[in-house]
Symmetry: C2
Subunit: 338 residues, 2 copies
DNA sequence: TAGCAAAATTGAAAGGTTTCAATTCGCTGT
DNA sequence: ACAGCGAATTGAAACCTTTCAATTTTGCTA
């Protein structure tokens, strides 16, 4: 049913080893032999078994991509970058949604170990890389995605979230807002933490007060809930910086529903600059992260480590975010909100 | 470096075959032996090589998921369903974005063949399943995702797009709009075609005229462009049914930018009911597809075919869409638009 | 306690590739 | 014509499981 190298060898009238060389080291087989093998391959429609190759090699040209949630447009873009880099290098990507649950993450890491994957790209669900160490000692090239907490034992690719936080805060401060709120997500997410650090830095340096709200998740619905709660208590200042774009969209939704206008009454800043931000009903001012590039770079890193582990030295690649100003932010209103 | 069954066998003082049985057929090994093997497995931290298993079996517990674009929230949700079903059954998902390009699709199909994947879930970039036949004859279980054009040679899981189109059209007709427009995507996309069929059916049955616009892609940006062009020519009726939610968001954006209101001046209906639709600045009326369930069902189908190909008969599973009414649609305005 | 069936275990083959030491081939220079 | 040499090719081992026929052990019965 499935055609193997043996069939090719038989048809071409050469040995197994020669077929293998024709495929992988063409320079060491005579041109006429090469042609015969090529013809046999074509005639039989032969595609070598990656499985067998991997068994021999001990590790697979496979990248395990472990992300909290592929439904988050940020990770979707990252995944595209990873996938493109992988395809170019003949790697394949296994998709693993951890849902931020350590248990599910562990499950996947075990699966990836069983697959003997050559590389892992992960945004860990929790601090530390202990569950990864087993994989690493088994020879997998690991890189941390958008997370550099774990230090220098592995590669990491991230965006400077502290800077991003500063940029967002500085933008509303520059617009003249005399106070603003920070809509954080779950505080145990490192990215959220770093953005908050940047925001506090900017606030402290300029003396502008910042209040803090917490959304239960990084989702539109959680943003709606958080802002509606705040509106009910009547404390919302004239500008709001959100931990990501989804929360920002939720905030806009809640504000419009309350009969207020964006940006005339409240300015909103998002974070991530997802695709949709540019064309939302109210185009969103946001901190852009080079998402695709992040994924692409991360994949290249592990692919190169895979290619020559000895020559590899772990790197911490860090991208710079930038603020993209659109219609959801504007000058501070003259009067205080009701 | 990597620990194999041989190591386990040695430590437990049994043969290879016994270890294998202990792992896969525990009922046929004596309890005390089982315990010894289990202890050795635990002590050595042994995880069996999926690669070796696959080589022996001739096919891998792997699902190749080939979609046009994982960045489209529809497919993201589908992917989640596929992934969950896969994980439960001990399968792994390889992510393949075809970008609707036949060439890239072919590339991936070859990769999947090399991997000897046991199953393929695909939304084909073009009609017919000729490029798939090789995979099928190699024993892969194939199911068509959201596409049933190819007939009865394979399983398929889809949503009744014709019905969906009818529902969308009927909704605006019920609201009293005396005419409406259909914003289609690329006409060679089967789903778009079927939705259009449903729309025409409803229009014909009720005698309400429908005009047709075409967006170059199924994206927000393309929606903006298409509607702005139409607005410039001044022909936009008071209701607009869009081929998917992204186009609908683009339409809303263009309409708001033109100084019109949604739904007071123009009602907008989307299609897919992506996550974001419920919480957009203007919550979107949309035709809901059971996306997650679609993916989950499709994965179960191929997994079951994989498990017992002989007992399997190809099925065409078809889900029913339903319309979800939100704030982007309202009664027809009394006056004609300027 | 011999004899037997059932239960448990073993050992070797197979699956498709890569690798590498060993062999053969084709020439060159003498 | 032939030694010597590099180039091309071969054959077998190794990678890690699963499978299954063959063998050994166990637990009974007569």
């Amino acid at each position: 049913m499935t055609v193997s190298m043996k069939d090719v060898a038989a048809l071409a009238g050469v040995s197994l080893g020669t077929v293998s060389n024709a495929l992988n080291n063409p320079h060491m087989v005579a041109p006429k032999t090469l042609a015969r093998v090529a013809k046999a391959v074509a005639d039989l429609d032969f595609v070598p078994s990656a499985t067998a190759r991997q068994l021999r090699a001990g590790r697979a040209k496979v990248i395990g991509l472990v992300v909290p949630d592929i439904a988050n447009p940020f990770f979707t873009e990252v995944a595209r970058g990873v996938e493109d880099a992988a395809l170019e290098a003949g790697f394949v990507v296994i998709l693993c949604n951890s849902d931020e649950q350590a248990e599910r993450e562990d499950r996947y890491l075990e699966v990836l170990q069983a697959q003997r994957v050559g590389a892992i790209l992960i945004t860990p669900a929790r601090q530390g890389l202990s569950p990864l160490s087993r994989l690493i000692s088994n020879g997998a090239a690991v890189a941390l995605l958008d997370n550099e907490t774990a230090g220098q034992d592995v590669c990491s690719v991230s965006v400077d979230d502290t800077l991003g936080g500063r940029l967002a805060a500085q933008h509303v401060i520059d617009l003249g807002h005399s106070a603003f709120a920070w809509l954080a997500g779950p505080t145990d997410i490192p990215q959220v933490h770093d953005r908050e650090t940047g925001i506090h830095q900017a606030a402290r340096e300029t003396g502008v007060p910042v209040t803090r709200m917490i959304a239960s998740q990084m989702s539109v619905a959680a943003g709606v809930t958080a802002v509606e709660t705040e509106l009910a208590s009547g404390h919302l200042p004239s500008a709001l910086v959100c931990a990501n774009d989804l929360l920002a969209f939720g905030a806009i939704r809640a504000i419009l529903r309350a009969g207020l206008r964006v940006p005339q009454d409240v300015s909103i800043v998002g974070y991530d600059d997802i695709d949709f931000a540019a064309n939302a009903a109210v185009p969103l001012t946001s901190v852009r992260q080079p998402k695709y590039e992040l994924g692409y770079a991360a994949a290249q890193l592990v692919i190169s480590e895979w290619g020559d582990p000895a020559a590899h030295s772990h790197q911490q690649v860090r991208f710079e975010p930038q603020i993209v100003v659109r219609e959801s932010t504007g000058p501070a209103p003259l009067a205080t909100l009701p």
